[in-house]
Symmetry: C2
Subunit: 793 residues, 2 copies
């Protein structure tokens, strides 16, 4: 149950446009929100959409994925095995700053008389542009245009093209292009979802290159000892008389252009920005690397970078686009608005992932530092499905990234007295960084979540080489952890029980037999056993290598199967539902209806003990299992379970609505499914959670893709069998998207009563429409299948 | 089950003596232990038994009860309602230091050639004396004698009488009597039971009086803004030529006596020390108060203070002594050793409580800063019974102290979203200071524990005035909390259930229906309802006053009764036991036998989640209820419950053995009872827990008194009916003690088959021997009752 009244009034202020997010006026109240929505990123480098002039702002975010500072976690009372070292993504120096003075008056948005204001995120071109027309009290009209991009092609490069024209007069124009250290003005008291604010200095100056209009500074972090080189170079293009001077310290710098602006004669400055980071390389060397990046970019020019950006996105959209035509009629959103919202979500998936390369995907991508830039299970359960089906190379990178952390996961398992490996609930560098075990370390399910994603990746791509070389090692260690943590309970008919864990729902912690955990652990165990058996049969050499790496004994495999086959799955005969855990039904139900709107999310208004002693959930838990392990439940069970849990779900987490929409769709609750789908798709653009200023919710965005593909198109892909059961919302007249399946590119085009399947690229493919087998052959025409229109809600 | 092998080898190094604890040689390895054992305190001022010369030492502890520094609790991840401010008892300036130089050579215990060494805690005189004979490499023989006391009569006063005599030569003797700030050299990493170490300055100098041999310094604490004045004055008495000079800064000082010592001519220095503290009074004023205390003490002289100390203790022992004659035979402890150990425990009760006045009793008394000097439920459940029966005025002070915190307890209840009041789990100033809610705030049972002690106090003393004026207000607010936190559960036959709490056993946290909590909450509710009803009937004025103070509505009382009468008490038909909580029996049993000895206590070697998911307990929980609410269980239930839980108890807490001994005794397991009783009585003197260096375990000491009275004498006092069922251990030939009951002083003298009851003072008294009523009349002879000798174990 999601209380619509409780949701913040939708702050969706963007005129409908299929490829652009456009802001038509300056909204002082939405500064934080807009910085997130207009953030640019390539998965490695991220810059929030702050204004060039630097003020006003909510959070000058400039981030490198995986570039963090560490700090000792202090506990009021600590205990054995508590995580020791926190990690927080560093908010870097801001290179975007370009201050403008005309007639020595600073340009300042909140007080400027703006005749025109347009900010546009162009998702086809990969740019953020701003067009302003400023009328000064003196009557002078100044046009200010900027175009900003973070390059997809050149991972370490960002650029701002800045153009000022005094239209109706001459005027002295001063443009100060700067690099400034990050300064915190926000506190974060009270909201555990925000980042940590460092009061102490994080980046220590270590190197510097300063020449002409170029400045590159090198730093090392205080505790984590990571290094960075970052800086700028400029290209100046104008017919006006200009002088300029540079100045810099070890920690900041600026190039100040002084222009005698003539009427209608533009001043154009291209500010090239580069960031290089490393764990080992000295800052001096990184400065040199940044210098080379800047040289090359400047030599090729702005047009070239614009073209490469456009080309990169053309390739992206060819596979990843979702075309949707929705006619909601009067009072509803326009078709352009729906298409816009869908594409914005897809664009964020691109921005968060395409150049991550060796890192994970932070909970907020690189659009903000909420959750400290940590990697959670969000990657595997919410984001990887879309990547597996559209950009499998990136999905593989992310799984490889987990594999690179395996040794630390082994150590973490030992730290908490378990065998095998335990992946960290939240981390940047592989060490557990959760300082609240009840909603952190206790979420052992992350082991199974990662293995679930591995299985999907292998089944969809056919990449058994990765499975056998790297996946199998993770499978052995995770299976060991499950076997070790659980036990065969005499009081439960010798079923295999897992106690003292927290499932996805963080409003019920440290419980026994969380159904989601047990179900997913069973999958983990089965997949591990099956993989080891296959490997032994198929490749003696790789099998031996696995044994060498893990000390595997074959009897372990039998133990895994025994545990999995006897896994205890809670079920209540009376209610006909799967209780979320052993004590869930015993609790007093939370009075959601009677809770004032301003008391949500509950976690900000109630002591954890109060929440834990009630039957209330933050987010889909058992319902998530209904979706992920759809084949393990009957239709009736799904319907009963969904009805039971939907009512108890506050939706205080953004991870909920997408999953609820998919399950509602499957069980025929179309009205509810569409309602939840709206929330999922609009979560960030309409700031439904009220905290998009912290960054966008990448997991929710991944869920939005799943809503479309698993919900509306009704795809299911258990054990590699791909089927579609379309359930197009009534208002939708066209819905078209593509999936990459084992090197084949499949296009699915749905209309209200027909589904057309076409192989755009690749080999022969067998899929299912409802229960009907559909064979798709290269070069052949599309196969059109009929289905019953989704009934009116 | 307590693994004897797991216990540290008993470090009981004191020759048997009925009234003294004597150390016959210097034990370098036992420094921390000895500092605790020889600590002096009057309940307000405490000084650890460090040596006068200041080195070697483990912890220079100088404490004032309730004098704390506060600090913001930092959480790695915080949540709503978490305690905000930590409090730690301040380790004050050390005034005890008296350094000695002979021939300019410093006297240093570890390297000195000692011909004699005796340290004696004299429990009859209230002094700590040290007699040394030092042979210097030059052949000079130096006698060093000191007598130290913390005055019971004069709350702010301590004194050291120091005497040096060069026996066989002349020699220059320098005696430097000092005050030095506390300097931390210990870390506390890893043990959550230790104190917090402040790295920053806590005491800021604010005032100073320096004159002649007198120095008094005034300070204010950095954060808590408490003030203190402390200092010394000296009396010099010698026939030797002496010069002396004083020097001081704002933070330290010394008086240096230079003596031309003649053979056999002693130098006697009396060092008077005083501490005055306050929350409000300026340090300047406190320095003046200290000065007055010092003047008066010096004027009266050392003999007077010794006499007053002796007189105070004579009064104490007259009521509080427990005489015990034990003959264990060969290989056992001597009668003197048993008497000594018993008296040391009783002496600690005196030291911890007699002049507390307005404060509580810290977990370690004032013998150390373990647990940060915090007050826990230890006071009410473990220590108050002995005080109620021996020094009821002090028991009342402690209950009044809780009442003085009621407003903060009301606020704390609101902080955690509950009605009524919630007393803090650990505190100094009344604010919750527990930074780990699972073993802190979740221990709601503290509310019921305090009310349980209140009931016992009223029933034993007959002080209904206190009950109606102050107790009733606490009863109303605690009952409200219970009614609010629980609910009538349809799944439990509409029984009243209490979820999400932690019982006394901290190895099972945040559970549903902890049996102890539910039983004690029921008592709390019944007592509250009964008291309000009585008050309404008996005293309309006081009733109205209660209504005014609490906004009580009479329907609430009915609600409390309804909740209490329908309280759910877990019971397992199959095992015939009371499960500790709803999920206790479902857990996997911990393999105690298979756990290596060095892995205890578990809390220092296993992650809390690992402990929580197993069936293992740290300390008596349900077994404590068997004792406190003995009348609620049948004999058979007690026997089955005890057997079940005894096996699962690690005894990782010192709170366990005493309670287990009492219950074992009641159900006839005499061998086990005596074994546990030994551990209870010897806990600190033999350093059974291995951490007596942190301070002595006052709760365990209180439990030792209960082992004697409730265990061996078999006293039960449910609802004011006082009965005895003696179960004297086989080896015990005489056991005599007194109880104050409603202003009557009752002496109980047990011999193996007879019990003699005599009224020493006061009014007629009715008690029960077994089920037989015994009427005791003033002036009458003792009543002798027979009973069957305790069977051989």
């Amino acid at each position: 149950m999601l209380h619509r009244e409780r949701l913040s009034p939708p702050r969706y202020v963007y005129p409908g446009d299929e490829w652009k997010i456009i802001e038509k006026q300056f909204y002082p109240d939405f500064i934080g929100q807009m910085e997130t929505i207009f953030a640019l990123s390539n998965g490695y480098l991220g810059m929030r959409g702050t204004f060039e002039e630097g003020r006003p702002f909510y959070n000058h975010g400039n981030f490198i994925n995986g570039f963090y500072e560490s700090w000792p976690i202090v506990y009021g009372e600590k205990a054995y095995g508590f995580a020791k070292t926190g990690q927080t993504i560093v908010n870097l120096h801001d290179l975007k700053i370009i201050r403008l003075f005309v007639d020595d008056e600073p340009f300042f948005l909140p007080t400027a008389d703006l005749k025109e204001f347009t900010r546009t995120l162009n998702m086809k071109e990969g740019t953020l542009t701003r067009d302003l027309l400023w009328e000064m009290p003196s009557g002078k009209l100044v046009s200010i245009k900027s175009t900003r991009l973070v390059s997809f092609e050149h991972r370490h490069l960002a650029v701002i093209h800045y153009e000022v024209t005094v239209l109706n007069s001459t005027a002295p124009v001063v443009i100060s292009s700067e690099i400034t250290p990050h300064r915190t003005i926000r506190g974060t008291d009270g909201d555990p979802r925000d980042t940590r604010v460092f009061r102490e200095k994080v980046l220590n100056p270590r190197a510097k290159i300063a020449e002409d209009m170029r400045l590159i500074l090198g730093f090392r972090t205080q505790n984590s000892l990571m290094s960075i080189g970052c800086g700028y170079e400029h290209t100046l293009d104008t017919d006006n008389p200009v002088t300029w001077e540079s100045e810099s310290s070890d920690d900041d710098g600026r190039v100040v252009f002084t222009v005698e602006a003539q009427p209608k004669a533009p001043v154009r400055i291209t500010k090239w920005m580069s960031f290089h980071t490393s764990r080992k390389t000295p800052p001096e060397d990184l400065c040199k690397r940044a210098e080379r990046t800047l040289f090359r970019a400047k030599r090729n020019g702005f047009k070239a970078i614009l073209d490469s950006q456009k080309q990169f996105l053309a390739d992206y959209w060819r596979v990843c686009d979702v075309r949707m035509v929705v006619n909601e009629g009067r009072g509803g959103r326009s078709a352009e608005e729906w298409q816009q919202a869908v594409r914005w979500n897809l664009y964020q998936l691109c921005q968060a992932s395409v150049r991550a390369e060796g890192a994970g995907i932070p909970a907020k991508g690189l659009t903000g530092d909420g959750y400290e830039g940590h990697y959670f299970w969000d990657i595997e359960i919410y984001v990887l499905p879309s990547l597996i089906y559209t950009t499998p190379r990136i999905a593989k990178n992310l799984l490889q990234f987990r594999h690179s952390m395996l040794e630390k996961a082994r150590q973490r398992a030992r730290d908490v007295n378990q065998k095998g490996a335990l992946f960290p609930w939240r981390t940047i560098n592989g060490d557990e960084a959760s300082a609240y075990y009840a909603a952190g370390t206790a979420q052992y399910h992350i082991n199974a979540d990662i293995m679930f994603a591995l299985k999907k990746y292998v089944q969809v791509t056919g990449d058994f080489d990765f499975l056998y070389r790297e996946g199998a090692e993770m499978l052995v260690e995770t299976a060991r952890m499950w076997r070790d943590i659980g036990f065969f309970s005499a009081r439960k008919n010798n079923r295999f029980c897992i106690h003292g864990v927290t499932g996805p729902d963080e409003y019920n912690t440290v419980v026994n037999n969380n159904a989601y955990t047990n179900l997913m652990a069973r999958e983990n165990l089965w997949f591990a056993a099956g993989t080891v058996e296959d490997l032994q049969r198929k490749d003696a050499g790789l099998y031996q290598s696995l044994v060498d790496k893990t000390g595997l004994e074959y009897t372990e495999v039998e133990e895994w199967r025994r545990a999995a086959n006897n896994m205890y799955i809670p079920y209540d005969e009376e209610l006909g539902i799967h209780p979320q855990d052993d004590s869930f039904l015993d609790k007093k139900e939370w009075d959601i209806e009677g809770t004032p709107e301003d008391k949500f999310p509950l976690l900000l208004h109630f002591h954890p003990l109060v929440i834990y002693r009630h039957r209330v959930i933050k987010q889909a838990d058992l319902v998530l299992a209904l979706f992920l392990l759809s084949h393990e439940f009957t239709e009736e069970e799904k319907a009963r379970d969904f009805d039971y849990y939907d009512r108890l779900t506050t939706g205080d987490s953004s991870l909920s609505v997408g999953i609820q929409s998919i399950v509602a769709s499957e069980i025929g609750q179309h009205k509810k499914s569409v309602e939840y789908a709206r929330y999922a798709v609009l979560m960030d653009l309409a700031d439904i959670g009220g905290n998009v200023g912290h960054g966008c919710h990448i997991a929710s965005i991944g869920a939005a893709w799943m809503v479309l593909v698993y919900g509306f198109a009704g795809m299911r892909d258990q054990n590699g069998r791909i089927s579609f059961n379309p359930r197009l919302p009534e208002a939708c007249s066209l819905f078209r998207f593509c999936l990459m399946i084992r090197n084949s590119l499949l296009q699915i085009e749905l209309r209200p009563e027909t589904a057309a399947y076409r192989l755009l690229e690749g080999e022969h493919l067998t899929i299912y429409h409802a229960e009907k087998k559909v064979e798709l052959t290269p070069g052949a025409a599309e196969v059109v299948c009929a289905y019953a229109a989704t009934p009116s809600a």
